[in-house]
């Protein structure tokens, strides 16, 4: 038994990698359909968007790249679906330099196809990518058209009814940023702090702990923390708007709810490894102390 624990302590990490691979891929191939519980930070975000009225204007920013797409894509898509269902008008931008615009185009095309009654230029518009992040946000407080004179296809924004009368970000009800890295934080420090626009953030799970400080300080309405936050939002959305449930019951497309199955199994495996590692640590340490 002692030998087993000694070998466990010196376990080659590649065995751990193999265990991780099996525990993540199996639920993707054989979905389990585990329940998702919601947290207050996600519920606050959801309720705020639910309270918006038809015709209200919101800003959706794709501030992430392909590397965190599995976490951030479901958030952005769920938010877009909710806005289109509630007939809230959406302005879409991308501020992440490497791949943000491509992901924005893909998500908008996907969700817009599900809502044929939503008209481009009237109910939503894609303003494309602009370099500079914080500098762009500062200019949004002065004049949006100076930062985004044309839409993603190169047409002047003045041609579109959705941009009529819109001068600064102060006139927008809400900014929703699906973010990785710093750009999400800039929306809080540059836009909310300077211009007062409300912000909801959808960060990657690794950045989420930092934003609790901003929530507690009242600088954030709510947060969708990583894939778990996205899964919570999907659950709230499907419960409130029954027609949208079909997007989250199908196992064909990847959704955050589906991804949570793999995460659940993985957490279990890691916890088991930690317990075994500690057992081995204490049992071998006791033996060493006895021998000394």
């Amino acid at each position: 038994m002692q030998a087993f624990f000694h070998r466990l302590l010196a376990l080659d990490r590649r065995w751990i990698f193999l265990l991780v691979l099996i525990s993540v891929t199996t639920p993707i191939l054989v979905p389990i359909g585990l329940p998702v519980t919601t947290t207050s930070s996600t519920r606050n975000a959801f309720e705020y968007v639910e309270a918006l009225k038809p015709g209200d204007l919101v800003w959706l920013s794709f501030d992430y790249g392909p590397s965190s797409a599995p976490e951030n894509d479901p958030m952005a898509e769920a938010f877009l679906r909710q806005c289109f269902t509630k007939k809230v008008r959406v302005i879409i931008t991308a501020l992440y330099p490497l791949g943000g615009l491509g992901l924005a185009n893909q998500a908008v095309a996907k969700v817009a196809a599900e809502f044929p009654e939503a008209k481009y230029g009237v109910d939503y518009i894609n303003l494309g990518y602009k370099d500079g992040a914080a500098a762009v946000m500062r200019s949004l407080g002065q004049d949006i058209t100076s930062a985004f004179p044309t839409d993603v296809n190169g047409r002047p924004v003045s041609e579109f009814p959705i941009m009529e009368g819109l001068r600064t970000i102060r006139q927008v009800q809400l900014v929703f940023t699906a973010a990785t890295g710093l750009i999400g934080e800039y929306w809080i420090t540059q836009v909310h702090a300077q211009f007062g626009t409300d912000v909801i953030i959808g960060p990657t799970a690794v950045s989420a702990p930092k934003y609790y400080a901003f929530i507690n300080a009242g600088q954030l309405i709510g947060m969708l923390g990583g894939m778990k936050g996205a899964a919570e939002y999907e659950k709230l959305l499907a419960a409130k708007h029954e027609p949208l449930g079909k997007f989250y019951r199908s196992t064909a497309d990847f959704t955050a709810t589906k991804g949570m199955d793999g995460q659940t199994v993985l957490h279990g495996v890691i916890l088991a490894l930690i317990v075994m590692g500690n057992l081995a640590f204490f049992l071998t340490r006791g033996k060493k102390a006895g021998a000394a």
Partner: protein, 423 residues
């Protein structure tokens, strides 16, 4: 009818105080009524007399008071601030209508409707250099109600001409400016005290004490020191701190003759790192040991950089790895790969996001402001130590204000929060 002035579409009201006018008005009115009555009697069929009804006159809507239009203070221009006092009482459903005129037309056009209670409006569509006049009036609802005040408007107040312009100071940031000036005062007085020879205590920071140990280990093993200065550019203060620490590490490697490798993700950081290392080797009098390849550029993409550096760690197995600067998702990949090679690892980051990964995988971690203290700690220059002391004084003041604020708000004195609020 007598004694009542009537407005007949542009005619002046009758002056009822003059007897002659009174008589002629009465005659005219009586004659008109007789004509109308005669026509009606002739047109109507016998036995069917339609009642003549006129809409009730709209009740008079009150006017707001104290209407002032000024350039919005403390801004960058292009905005006029309108303030007024709502009249009381206001009928239900009425709104305040703001209209604006500008040269050359000088005609008032509708600008905005404001709900009662706001008593202020900012016209952010004004342009600097133009002179505007504003008109404010109460307006009834569009749909007629039982009172018949469909679309009625009350008397209008007109403002003086006003022109927006940019100002010299953002007044809402007064508290912020005072805090900054106080902070700078603490720093400069502490530096002055340090320059005068006063000893400055700085607590032991294990990670910084281990720098020489790590370089010594690399020297003994004959392996290189790998220094990763984060993935952000030189506009990030953590990167500047990292390059300053790199200078110290480079001096040590020059002194001991240890190989140094600095892979870079950002081009500006690459240029600064190369300059810092070259200067360090010159300062130590070992220009012969300096090689251009020591500091090299890898790629701008985050994960391509991570893959390249991880592969380099696995191949070359450095003895000491420094992960100092601003890292994101790649932190755990780099640190765990470094851990697998058996190197001694010293990490440091001010942002708390990646700190848990560094704590779990590295031998020493500089947490938060310890990164910024490193330069002072390693050089022991009195001026730098003095600035650390000033920073600590500022933190103590901030803590005291926070505690007083908690007590004040708990006791209901919310004015304290408004007093120290910054923007």
């Amino acid at each position: 009818m007598f004694g009542r002035s009537c407005d007949f579409g542009g005619e002046k009201p009758v002056d009822t105080t003059t007897g002659g006018s009174l008589v002629s008005a009465s005659v005219r009115l009586t004659a008109s009524s007789l004509v109308v009555l005669t026509l009606l009697l002739c047109a109507a069929p016998a036995g069917a007399v339609a009642p003549v009804t006129t809409p009730p006159p709209p009740p008079e809507l009150p006017a707001p008071t104290a209407f002032v239009a000024v350039d919005r203070p403390g801004d960058g221009g292009n905005a006029i601030l309108l303030t007024w006092t709502d009249p009381a009482p206001l009928p239900e459903g009425t709104v305040l209508e703001v209209r604006r005129s500008e040269p050359p037309a000088d005609e008032f056009g509708e600008l905005q409707t404001v709900k009662p209670g706001a008593q202020r409006y900012v016209d952010a569509s004004a342009e600097d250099g133009k002179t505007y006049r504003y008109e404010l009036r109460v307006r009834g609802v569009e749909t007629p109600d039982s009172l018949g005040i469909a679309g009625a408007v009350g008397p209008a107040l007109v403002s003086d001409p006003v022109s927006p312009h940019d100002n010299w100071f953002r007044t809402e940031r007064t508290n912020s400016l005072l805090a900054v000036l106080l902070f700078i005062t603490f720093i400069l007085t502490s530096i002055a005290a340090a320059r005068s020879g006063k000893p400055i205590f700085i607590r032991r920071i294990a990670g910084l004490n281990a720098v020489d140990e790590a370089i010594g280990r690399a020297t003994e093993l004959g392996k290189k020191v790998l220094y990763i200065p984060g993935i952000q550019s030189m506009d990030e203060i953590q990167t500047i701190a990292s390059i300053a620490i790199l200078g110290h590490v480079a001096r040590a490697t020059a002194r001991y003759g240890t190989d140094l490798d600095v892979p870079n993700k950002d081009p500006l950081t690459f240029v600064s790192a190369r300059e810092a290392v070259h200067s360090a080797y010159l300062a130590e009098g070992r220009p012969d040991l300096y090689r251009e390849e020591m500091v090299h550029y890898v790629t701008y993409d985050q994960f391509a950089y991570t893959a390249a550096v991880s592969a380099q760690m696995t191949r070359e197995k450095p003895a000491a790895i420094f992960l100092v600067g601003y890292f994101f998702a790649e932190s755990l990949i780099l640190a765990e790969t470094g851990q697998s090679t058996g190197a001694i690892q010293i990490a440091g980051q001010a942002d708390p996001t990646q700190l848990p990964f560094f704590v779990a995988t590295c031998d020493y971690t500089l947490i938060g402001e310890e990164l910024y203290a490193a330069s002072a700690y390693l050089s022991r220059e009195p001026v730098l130590l003095g600035s650390m002391r000033g920073q600590d004084i500022a933190k103590a003041v901030l803590l005291a204000v926070g505690i007083i604020g908690i007590i004040a708000v708990s006791l209901g004195a919310t004015w304290f929060v408004d007093l120290v609020r910054t923007q």
